[in-house]
């Protein structure tokens, strides 16, 4: 049995190993000559079952802390031998705390149920890192989106500027011709009737070109703003295509083009706006004329395909680079090819075609090889039996 541990209190606890198990003593000093002296004292020892019961109760209380996700578990060791443990004790201690000086023979080992301190810390680190990474990724995506949008707006502003310049230039040429021929006729310098007729024809042609150009710009503005209204009716696309071809065949013939038209018999009708579709086909034909270069062969074919009717306009011209095949349908966009840059245009024709075709729930397809020519296909859904155009 050890002597009572020195201290300021009258009561002192001590512990000693005994054959029946550890004994816990509580002393009270009854008479002392000085603070370090114990001349007379009374003491009690406690039953081992009481001490173990008390320990177990405290362990269970500490194992269920309120408001905590991680549950600590404890075991008591005496000289390296486990004498008590909480029910979920796994045998692996995260910490060992000596109970000296009160109960110097015992050590309380602690751990977390089903996890370790390392796992808890690492799990929290990973969770926080993931949140930070997600925030950084969101920031990156936002920066990228802002950059893309701003780049697009800058490009659009540049294209609009180029569009104004192109339109002005395109208008200037027919206006100059009209003005020049009108002045010549007005001055009376030309008297030969054939020559006068030729001058009038030129004025008329240039006026139509000018009107067509203005019409294109206005139509595009209407479609862009959603103000355009389509008058849908059942249309024979073959008939419409032959009408468009007939209207411009003379002009194309004079310009040296050979225009072929092929219409599959028995085509189903489509629901469409006659004027808008005519304009779309005319724009595609104009496009084929503009970029035909030396080989002046243009083909128009109207075919049936899987519940749709397809108008295909092919040329043997300069073709379009694969990298630009999607972008040529953008408003104001003009392909970067030097041959394209030589041809006058506002960059609205194909954008207008795309808008018109989309308004008919159709699609436009392009097959093109640079130097070999292009084929634009307008695919429009056939008129469903029993359905009325809306």
């Amino acid at each position: 049995m050890s002597q009572p541990a020195p201290g300021s209190s009258d009561f002192r606890i001590s512990q000693s190993a005994a054959p029946g198990g550890t004994r816990i003593y509580l002393f009270r000093v009854l008479l002392a000559a000085g603070p370090q002296d114990t001349r007379r004292f009374a003491g009690v020892t406690f039953s081992s079952s009481f001490v173990q019961h008390s320990l177990m109760r405290s362990i269970m209380k500490a194992s269920n802390p309120a408001g905590s996700d991680t549950k600590p578990v404890f075991a008591v060791f005496e000289g390296g031998r486990q004498i008590l443990a909480a029910p979920r004790w796994s045998g692996r201690a995260e910490s060992r705390t000596s109970l000296a000086p009160w109960l110097p023979l015992w050590e309380i080992a602690g751990a977390y149920s089903g996890t370790t301190v390392e796992d808890i810390a690492r799990g929290q680190f990973r969770r926080d890192l993931l949140i930070s990474l997600l925030a950084l990724i969101a920031l990156g995506v936002a920066a990228f989106a802002t950059f893309t949008m701003a780049t697009r707006e800058t490009r659009l502003a540049r294209m609009k500027s180029a569009f104004i310049s192109n339109v002005s230039h395109e208008m200037k040429t027919p206006l100059a011709l009209i003005s020049m021929y009108a002045e010549t006729l007005e001055s009376g310098r030309v008297s030969a009737p054939e020559k006068v007729r030729d001058y009038y024809r030129t004025i008329l042609r240039e006026s139509r070109k000018l009107a067509g150009m203005v019409e294109n710009v206005l139509d595009f503005a209407r479609l862009e703003s959603g103000r355009a209204r389509m008058q849908l009716e059942a249309i024979d696309l073959g008939e419409l295509a032959s009408e468009v071809v007939r209207n411009c065949s003379e002009r194309l013939r004079l310009e040296g083009f050979h225009l072929s038209l092929e219409i599959e018999p028995g085509l189903p009708p489509i629901d469409g706006d006659r004027a808008a579709l005519s304009q779309a086909l005319l724009n595609l034909l104009d496009n084929a004329v503009k970029y035909s270069a030396g080989t002046k062969e243009i083909g128009v074919a109207v075919l049936r395909a899987d519940g749709s009717v397809v108008v295909e306009i092919t040329d043997q011209g300069i073709g379009i680079d694969p990298s630009e095949q999607q972008r040529i349908f953008e408003q104001f966009y003009r392909a970067g090819d030097p041959m394209t840059q030589k041809v006058r245009g506002a960059g609205l024709g194909l954008a207008l075609v795309r808008h018109i075709v989309a308004a008919h729930r159709g699609r436009i397809e392009l097959r093109s090889t640079p130097g070999m020519g292009s084929a634009f296909s307008v695919v429009l859904p056939a008129h469903a039996a029993g359905a009325s155009p809306s």
Binding site: F11, R40, V44, T45, T97, I108, A111, S132
Partner: protein
């Protein structure tokens, strides 16, 4: 009137400002990322220490609970003894010890020690039958 050249200069400047802004955002994000990572590493270390400390504190609390219970029960018993009791009659003490055992069954043994007894060290122990004095 703005010429094409002026427009080109303006768009180039806009692009430069844009690229510069994006580069600044990326650099700031990278710096923040590094700072955040270092903070998280520190936090991980602190978390580990905190959880270890919690275990130690809980163990000390367990020991404190046991000590408190032992002290509460024992102090009530021991408070009834005075310095003169070491010289009291063994039979009187035996009765008192038995009364203590009856009231506090968790107490195994009661004893009194007098180290300054003229005849040497004197001790009175509770026994199964009552009390026993040794000198």
């Amino acid at each position: 009137m703005i010429s094409a050249g002026q427009t080109a200069v303006r768009t180039t400047t806009q692009m430069r400002v844009l690229v510069l802004s994006v580069v600044m955002v990326v650099v700031c994000a990278a710096i923040l990322g590094v700072v955040q990572y270092r903070s998280l590493v520190q936090l991980e270390i602190r978390t580990r220490i905190t959880f270890q400390d919690d275990l130690v504190r809980s163990a000390q609390s367990i020991a404190g609970d046991v000590e408190g219970e032992v002290r509460t029960i024992g102090a009530a018993v021991l408070a009834s003894f005075h310095k003169e009791d070491t010289n009291s009659d063994v039979r009187d003490l035996a009765r008192r010890f038995q009364e203590i055992h009856r009231r506090q069954p968790e107490i195994d043994e009661v004893f009194l020690f007098a180290l300054d007894d003229p005849s040497g060290t004197s001790a009175v122990f509770s026994t199964r039958d009552g009390a026993d004095r040794c000198t």
